[in-house]
Symmetry: C2
Subunit: 221 residues, 2 copies
């Protein structure tokens, strides 16, 4: 049995959970908060980061590495893409959301609206939040542009670009950082994701002490 060490607002853990659910692989969830620097997490992953997936014999870290592992070992549905060039585009976009969206949007929102509330007990910084909201706006515009070309972010089929984008956006949305107005295409895409059982399970999760906006897990938002 796989055990996934994660916490509900970790966007990288969400990407892994989403991909594993699409592949039909189950994992027991184990709560791990990197800022507590627990002995267990440090031993499993010297980076002291979530997600970590382990089964007593094998330890897998890094959301990209974990998702590629399941794409190689569980055939259906393919998540990385068919041809080499489609796979390159899917990986480019997976990296875009896991790095750029994360550093410009998700990480500052987690710092201001989760870490300061639950851990350091400071007031959030309004400027930091405003900058994150502005960056989110540009990223949603990019999602709209990508959907002008394709049914899913990286091409005609659902895959890792959608998984990583949805994982990051869902955390930003939980923290009040997403304004869907003016992003009709992105909204249709996200609505299709919300209707997948694999993603709905994620949206049902709550981080203790922080409530998402009322429409966060609604199909109609």
């Amino acid at each position: 049995m796989w055990r996934l060490h994660q916490f509900p607002l970790c966007p990288f853990s969400r990407a892994v959970r989403f991909a594993m659910a699409e592949k039909g692989v189950t994992a027991e969830l184990v709560a791990a908060y990197p800022w507590e620097r627990s002995e267990t997490l440090s031993r499993l992953n010297p980076a002291i980061q979530t997600p970590v997936l382990e089964n007593g014999q094998m330890v897998l870290c890094d959301s990209h590495a974990i998702i590629e592992y399941f794409d190689e070992t569980v055939e259906r549905p393919p998540l990385v893409g068919a041809s080499a060039s489609e796979r390159a585009e899917a990986r480019r976009l997976a990296g875009w959301f896991a790095q750029r969206f994360y550093s410009e949007v998700t990480a500052p929102l987690l710092a201001e609206r989760m870490y300061k509330r639950l851990v350091s007990r400071e007031m959030p910084d309004g400027i930091g939040i405003r900058n994150a909201n502005r960056a989110a706006e540009l990223h949603l515009q990019y999602v709209d542009d990508l959907l002008d070309e394709n049914r899913w972010l990286a091409g005609p089929t659902f895959g890792i670009a959608d998984v990583h984008a949805a994982a990051q956006i869902s955390v930003a949305d939980y923290l009040g950082g997403i304004d869907w107005r003016g992003h009709g295409q992105a909204k249709v895409w996200y609505s299709a994701l919300k209707s997948r059982p694999s993603f709905r399970a994620l949206l049902a999760d709550r981080m203790e002490g922080i409530r998402p906006p009322p429409d966060y897990d609604k199909l109609d938002f």
Copy 2:
């Protein structure tokens, strides 16, 4: 003919050049400095980052995506690993160096010792450099630890973990951020890399206006 848009101290471009040379794929180098935000680079890659690889028909961005592309399309030598678990470990470490080492060591050294000298014409910040040097020390210790277990960083064969680690370390070394003393294992490993023609070509490159330390490209250092 592939054209690689890059600059000599871009660690991600170095990783791509190293991997392509190992695969025997040639590319014409085109100088691109992301901070100039040229129209060409913005058009090729909306992230306005190097490396970008293109051939007039196809555009590839993101060092991980590019290297995986060549691993899928050029059989020999394999760079990602044999079994799915070896591949997961190689990808974990490739991510470690491209993200952690980059953000803690390479990025601050590039900011202090390249960007401030060549672009913004400011004095470097001594504290920033000292923190980067300290972080480099911990990463070299981790390299030593990994080499206690394996001949190469992720296992018995050379691959993407070594490529990404060497690319980051070589830029930090160029900028005076690497002290090899006390890291015998890491030094033997890096010395083996330095003797590969694919890596030597990289080390011959110079960034105009910045000179590396005298031992930077020496086999005996």
